[in-house]
Symmetry: C2
Subunit: 357 residues, 2 copies
């Protein structure tokens, strides 16, 4: 299928076209940016809902249930799973099976598990682009699943209109600290697996932390952002010197993230979750924050695409190839450090002497 | 402290200098690349050992024990923790405390927890650069801790001479599938928390998968690398169409990853693990693979530094700023898609008309 045929097929809502389009984007196949440019005007109708949380929190089951409820209400649903531990993902090949049985065979649902590595412009960019394709195709709800470890929870918050953070009562090592990074991106909290002991305590902890119970205005800002010396040597205690505040991805204004208690595999609490999602979306629209988030997303996308395009150019034969090859050879031979070699390539581009290979 | 003073301090092995140097690199402070260039000739003496695995596998305790054993043998040790759930990391602020008590107050040990986001050139690059600083300073063993979810396990494999994959008997959701991505990067497996049920079964599973037991030559190649259409729509079963083989990060030749059983908190199996690490390092040296890995690492670093330098230039006032600003404004106003706008900026640079702002 040519990229023109794919563009036509997307307009005609052909399932084969959306599958091909996503593959093109994921693989960075020739013409993928032309494809994305062609559908750019069509995006913006879907509501994008990020679902993140630690492995084992039951994100996939929750997404399956959300999908079923959306379908029952007549909404079409796209799912992008970036969680490498997700049963939708490549890891399923090992023996797990895709568990979305209730959704399979339904043309109103499209599930895509993303390769978690090797994508040309980084996972976050590609995920956003796949969501764009689903949006342009006409899916009304797009669910983005990522595992809430490290960088990915920020990526999902950037890609979504609403971010749902899913936690479970039992706290293995790391759950506590994961909550740190997840705290600031949550628009809605889910305490899943509520049939297990400790669910109510976790809900209370979250509500206290969110300042619901006692009118606190405290917001936790984790110290992940910059370097600190203090926590590294001679037993000195950790400090929060490096805690720079990044631009908020949360709704400004009066929105306080609610805590919804669910037992997804029993379908308990899902209607309440959807109600919370609807309330958040309404608040986003009313406050103007929806438009602001989407504007930020578009600017961020433009930056990412520009950086990707630059990389493609530099490493291509049409780029400053001779300067790059010299740099790599110099470093390999021990003549220069990577830093001196890289600075030289940039200087050649900058001084307009390296514009062509 | 000026960057010249830091460079001098590193040569004189002053603890304050290494702490400052790492902060400079982590924050991308002015002069950080000059600093890295200055120490470039000094690196290559340390053995770099990556430790990865799912959250809760006990990586931090294992690293604490390894550190104690290395110190007992007279080796100095640097630790770089990139795991956001690590007690060494920023998350410790939430209530956990740094647990490396046995190592604190010892000038032969330096522990650094990395900010897990916001670094200028991506986590992997910065982690490698921090390891370089520790290497140049004279630490003989460098332990790199990352959580084995998503991209980070490949990063750690790229940054280390030897990669240790830590697993635990109990399998929560996701452990099984995490193993998929971890399988191909392991030089040494650790089955930790061996006092729990199922340790022996896990060891056997790993040995079977590695082909030890029955002379199998099968090596698992997970299908995370490319896109497939098959697993996405209409209940079609997952296929391995997208399973491209990436360049191996494992020792070629006869090395079969051994499985070492440990109970780190009881100090059981640590001596055996160190023995396995020594054997792997000897095999790397004997086969020429050590030099090959380090060559690949240097080339990869050069590429990363070049891309980072380009980004810095493009977004700086000295860069093609006017073209970039036009692109961002056009996208925001809906006049062009991000793809058309980015292509235009690259075209201006390429045609030597955008070289200066």
């Amino acid at each position: 299928m040519t990229s023109s045929a794919i563009i036509e097929g997307l307009k005609e809502r052909k399932p084969a076209a959306i599958a091909r389009a996503i593959s093109m984007v994921e693989n960075g196949s020739p013409g993928f940016e032309r494809l994305l440019a062609a559908v750019h005007a069509e995006i913006g109708r879907a509501r994008r809902i990020g679902v993140t949380g630690p492995p084992g929190a039951g994100k996939s089951t929750l997404i399956e249930r959300l999908t079923a409820h959306f379908r029952a209400a007549g909404r079409t649903v796209g799912v992008v799973a970036v969680d490498p531990s997700s049963p939708f993902s490549g890891g399923a090949l090992l023996g797990d099976r895709i568990r979305m049985e209730s959704a399979s065979g339904d043309a109103g649902v499209f599930i895509r598990s993303m390769a978690s590595r090797g994508s040309l412009g980084g996972m976050a960019t590609t995920t956003g682009e796949v969501a764009d394709l689903m949006d342009a195709y006409g899916f009304e709800r797009i669910l983005l699943e990522t595992v809430g470890v490290g960088q990915s929870e920020l990526d999902v918050a950037g890609a979504a209109d609403t971010t749902v953070v899913v936690l479970v009562p039992e706290s293995g090592d790391g759950i506590q600290t994961m909550k740190a990074g997840l705290m600031e991106i949550a628009d809605v909290f889910v305490v899943n697996k509520a049939d297990r002991p400790g669910a109510d305590r976790l809900r209370q902890e979250l509500e206290i932390a969110m300042g619901l119970r006692h009118g606190h205005t405290f917001r936790h800002v984790p110290a992940h952002h910059g370097g600190t010396d203090a926590q590294t040597h001679g037993g000195t205690e950790a400090s929060s010197v490096g805690a720079a505040v990044r631009p908020s991805v949360r709704a400004s204004g009066p929105w306080e993230p609610p805590v919804v208690v669910t037992t997804a595999f029993k379908d308990e609490g899902i209607a309440e979750l959807i109600e919370a999602l609807d309330r958040h979306f309404a608040a986003l629209e009313a406050s103007g924050e929806l438009a602001a988030r989407r504007r930020r997303r578009l600017e961020q996308r433009t930056r990412e695409v520009l950086e990707r395009s630059l990389r493609q150019w530099v490493w291509s034969d049409a780029g400053p190839r001779a300067a790059v090859d010299t740099a790599l050879a110099d470093v390999a031979a021990g003549r220069r450090s990577p830093y001196e070699a890289a600075a030289d390539v940039v200087e050649r581009i900058r001084s307009r002497e390296g514009g062509k290979g």
